[in-house]
C-alpha cells in the first residue's frame, strides 16, 4: 500500500474532526510556542549581556574584595579571628599599580544606592564613584559634556555624569548638561551625559566614598596595556593583593574573558532551564495526543473492523493511526512555531525585549514534536492494529 494514500487517509480523518483535532494539537502548539519563545528570550538575553561585556574591551581586569564589616549580626569569634579583615586598602595603594609595566589604567570604584532629587522628582539611583581612568577601562562613551577629571577627584567637586535613562526619569530629557540635582540633599552639577541606556549616576571617587560612608576600597578595575599581557597584569594584581591580605580568599580577580565565560555559562543554564520547562508542556501535549488517539481508536473500532475485513493488514492500520498522530503533532508544531515567531516579533517591537531566534531551536522544537507524535501515537496505533476483525466488526 502506498504511503501517500496512508497520509491522505490521516489528513482526511483529521479534517473530518476539525475542532477535536485542533484541541488535540493545542497542547503541542503551546508547547512548541513556549519552547521557541523562551529559548529565544534566553539567547537574546545572553547575547545582549555578552555584547555589553565585550564592548568594555578585552583588557579589563576587575577585582572584588570581601571586606569584613564589624557590626550587627556578626559574632565574637569571627570578629576576633578576622585580623586580616582590618586591612584597609587605600586608593593610593591601588593607584600605585599603575607603575607596573603591564598595567595601563587603574580605577578604584565605590558603588551604592542613594536618593537623587531633581526639582520635585525623587528617585533611588545607583551611584558609582570612579577615577577618570575608569572611562578608559570600560570604554565609556559620552553623549554630551565631559567625564570626571582628576581635578574633580582631588577637589571632591560636586559634579556628576548622568546615565541617559536616569536623566530621562528626572528631567524628562537627556539634554541636561549644566543642570543641577541633589544627592542625599547635596547639590551636584551635571557635567556630562553617558551614551547608551545606563541609569547610573557617576561621581568623583573621593566624594562618592565619603557620601557612601565607605572607608576601605571594595572593588577596583585595571586594564592591561595590551590584550596579550592581560595574564601578566593579572599576576601583578594578584601579587599585590596577596602581599596586602596574605589570604587569597578575601579577594577575587576576574579578567574579561573569565567574566564572559561565567556570564555565558549562567545564561546558558538559564536558557536550558526555560527550554526544559517549556518541553514539559510539549510532553503534556504529547500525552493529550495519546489520550485522544486512544479515544479515537475506541470510537473507530467498527471502522477498523471494516478496513480489516476488506483486506487491511495490521501494518496498514498501525501506519494509519501512527501517521495520524504524527500529522497532528507535526501540524501542531508548525502552528506553534508560527505563533512563536509572531509572539517574538511582538516582544521585540512593542516591548523592546531582546530575542534571538535560531534555526536550530526551530528544528529542535519541530523534531521534538514529531518525536512526541511517534512515541505517543505508537501505543494507540498498536492497540488499533491488534483488534481482531470479528470483534471490531461486531462492536457497536
Amino acid at each position: 500500500m502506498n504511503p501517500i494514500e496512508t497520509i491522505k487517509m490521516a489528513f482526511k480523518a483529521i479534517w473530518g474532526n476539525k475542532i477535536r483535532s485542533f484541541l488535540t494539537m493545542l497542547g503541542v502548539i503551546i508547547g512548541v510556542m513556549s519552547v521557541t519563545v523562551l529559548m529565544a528570550i534566553g539567547q537574546g538575553t545572553t547575547s545582549s549581556v555578552t555584547d555589553s561585556i565585550s564592548s568594555m574591551g578585552t583588557n579589563m581586569i576587575s577585582v572584588t574584595i570581601q571586606t569584613r564589616r564589624f557590626g550587627f549580626g556578626m559574632n565574637r569569634s569571627s570578629r576576633s579571628s578576622s585580623a586580616k579583615g582590618t586591612v584597609i586598602l587605600k586608593a593610593e595603594d591601588v593607584l600605585a599599580l599603575k607603575d607596573n609595566e603591564y598595567i595601563q589604567y587603574v580605577s578604584p570604584t565605590v558603588s551604592g544606592s542613594l536618593t537623587v532629587k531633581a526639582g520635585s522628582t525623587n528617585t533611588a539611583a545607583s551611584i558609582m564613584g570612579v577615577y577618570p581612568d575608569y572611562a578608559n577601562i570600560v570604554n565609556t562613551e559620552l553623549a554630551s559634556g565631559r567625564y570626571i577629571i582628576d581635578a574633580d577627584v582631588e577637589n571632591r567637586s560636586a559634579v556628576c555624569v548622568i546615565g541617559p535613562d536616569l536623566a530621562e526619569d528626572l528631567f524628562g530629557n537627556t539634554n541636561v548638561v549644566g543642570n543641577t540635582l541633589h544627592v542625599n540633599g547635596r547639590k551636584f552639577r551635571i557635567v556630562g551625559v553617558l551614551d547608551g541606556t545606563s541609569s547610573t549616576l557617576v561621581l568623583p571617587f573621593t566624594l562618592a566614598q565619603r557620601m557612601l560612608e565607605s572607608t576601605s576600597i571594595t572593588s577596583f578595575y585595571v586594564s592591561a596595556t595590551d590584550s596579550t599581557v592581560v595574564s601578566a597584569a593579572q599576576t601583578a594584581v594578584e601579587r599585590f593583593l596577596y602581599k596586602k591580605y596574605q589570604d587569597d580568599s578575601t579577594y577575587s580577580i576576574m579578567n574579561q574573558e573569565e567574566m564572559l565565560e561565567a556570564m555565558e555559562e549562567t545564561a546558558g543554564t538559564l536558557s536550558l532551564m526555560l527550554g526544559g520547562i517549556a518541553s514539559i508542556s510539549l510532553l503534556v501535549g504529547g500525552i493529550g495526543i495519546m489520550n485522544i488517539m486512544l479515544v479515537s481508536v475506541t470510537e473507530r473500532t467498527r471502522e477498523i473492523g471494516i478496513r480489516k475485513a476488506i483486506g487491511a493488514k495490521r501494518r496498514n492500520i498501525l501506519l494509519q493511526f501512527l501517521i495520524e498522530s504524527i500529522v497532528l503533532s507535526g501540524m501542531g508544531g508548525l502552528l506553534g512555531l508560527m505563533l512563536g515567531y509572531g509572539l517574538m516579533h511582538v516582544l521585540e517591537t512593542y516591548m523592546g525585549m531582546s530575542v534571538s531566534s535560531s534555526a536550530g531551536v526551530a528544528q529542535l522544537a519541530m523534531g521534538f514534536s514529531m518525536f512526541v507524535g511517534v512515541v505517543f501515537g505508537l501505543y494507540p496505533a498498536n492497540k488499533a492494529s491488534k483488534l481482531k476483525p470479528i470483534d471490531a466488526l461486531h462492536y457497536s
Binding site: N2, G16, A309, I310, G311, A312, R315, P389, I390, L393
Partner: protein, 229 residues
C-alpha cells in the same frame, strides 16, 4: 472453491465450553450460489466468519480456492480477504465519512492499485450496480437499498473469487430486498461464486442450493452427487 472438513470452533462461557461448530463438512464449487440457513445460535455466523477468513477454526481442514489456509497467519488471511473475498454485510458497513466511490476504492487501496486504475474500476462496478450517478454521495445521503448496492460494488471491486453475503437483505424492506436479491442473481449468472448467510427460508429458497445448519452441525449433509449447479 471451498472445502471444509471437520471444522470445529469452541467458545468458552465461564466454565462451560460451547461448541459453536461441531465438525462441519462443506463443499462449494466455483460459480455456485449457495445459501447457508439456520436459526440464530445455530453457528451460521461463526461459520461465515471462518469461511470469510475473519476467524480461524480450532480444528479441521479448510481449503479455499485451492489453498490450504488452515494454518495461515493473520497477515496472510488479510491478503486472502482483500484479494479473494468480497463481503456484503447486513449493516452495510460503509465508512460514513467517505463517498460511495471512495468506499468502493478502499479495498483497492489496500491492494496497492494506482489511483487511475482505482477510479476506472470503481466507476465500472458502481455502474454495474446502477449507482454511477450517485458515486459522490456519502452513505448518509443514500437509501438503505442504495447503500447495500454500494457495499456490493465494494465487494465486486477487487474481482474476488467469492462473494460472501451476511443477511444482505436483513435491514431492507421487502421491495429493496428483492432488488438486492435480483442483483445477486445477475452476479451469479455472470459467473460469480456467492455464499449467502440467512435465517430466512424465503431468501434461502431463491438460491439453487441451501445448506442447513443447526446446533453447529450441517443437516442433511449432501454428497457431491447431490450438488445442484
Amino acid at each position: 472453491m471451498i472445502v471444509m472438513q471437520g471444522i470445529r470452533k469452541e467458545y468458552r462461557m465461564g466454565d462451560n465450553v460451547v461448541a459453536a461448530l461441531d465438525g462441519v463438512d462443506i463443499h462449494i464449487k466455483p460459480h455456485e450460489f449457495v445459501s447457508i440457513i439456520g436459526p440464530s445460535g445455530s453457528g451460521k455466523s461463526t461459520l461465515m466468519n471462518i469461511i470469510g477468513c475473519l476467524d480461524t477454526a480450532d480444528d479441521g481442514i479448510y481449503r479455499f480456492d485451492g489453498l490450504d489456509i488452515t494454518d495461515y497467519t493473520e497477515n496472510e488471511l488479510a491478503t486472502i480477504r482483500g484479494k479473494k473475498i468480497g463481503f456484503v454485510f447486513q449493516q452495510f458497513n460503509l465508512l460514513p465519512k467517505l463517498t460511495a466511490q471512495e468506499n468502493v476504492e478502499l479495498p483497492l487501496i489496500y491492494q496497492g492499485m494506482s489511483a487511475g486504475k482505482r477510479h476506472k474500476r470503481s466507476r465500472e462496478v458502481l455502474d454495474r450496480v446502477g449507482l454511477l450517478e450517485r458515486m459522490h454521495h456519502k452513505p448518509t445521503e443514500l437509501s438503505g437499498g442504495q447503500q447495500q448496492r454500494v457495499a456490493i460494488a465494494r465487494a465486486l471491486a477487487g474481482d474476488p473469487s467469492l462473494i460472501l453475503a451476511d443477511e444482505p437483505t436483513g435491514n431492507l424492506d421487502s421491495k429493496t430486498g428483492a432488488e438486492v436479491m435480483r442483483l445477486f442473481h445477475e452476479l451469479h449468472e455472470a459467473g460469480n461464486t456467492i455464499v449467502l448467510i440467512t435465517h430466512d427460508a424465503k431468501i434461502a429458497a431463491q438460491t439453487p442450493r441451501a445448506i442447513h445448519i443447526h446446533d453447529g452441525r450441517v443437516l442433511e449433509p449432501m454428497d457431491e452427487s447431490e450438488v445442484v449447479i
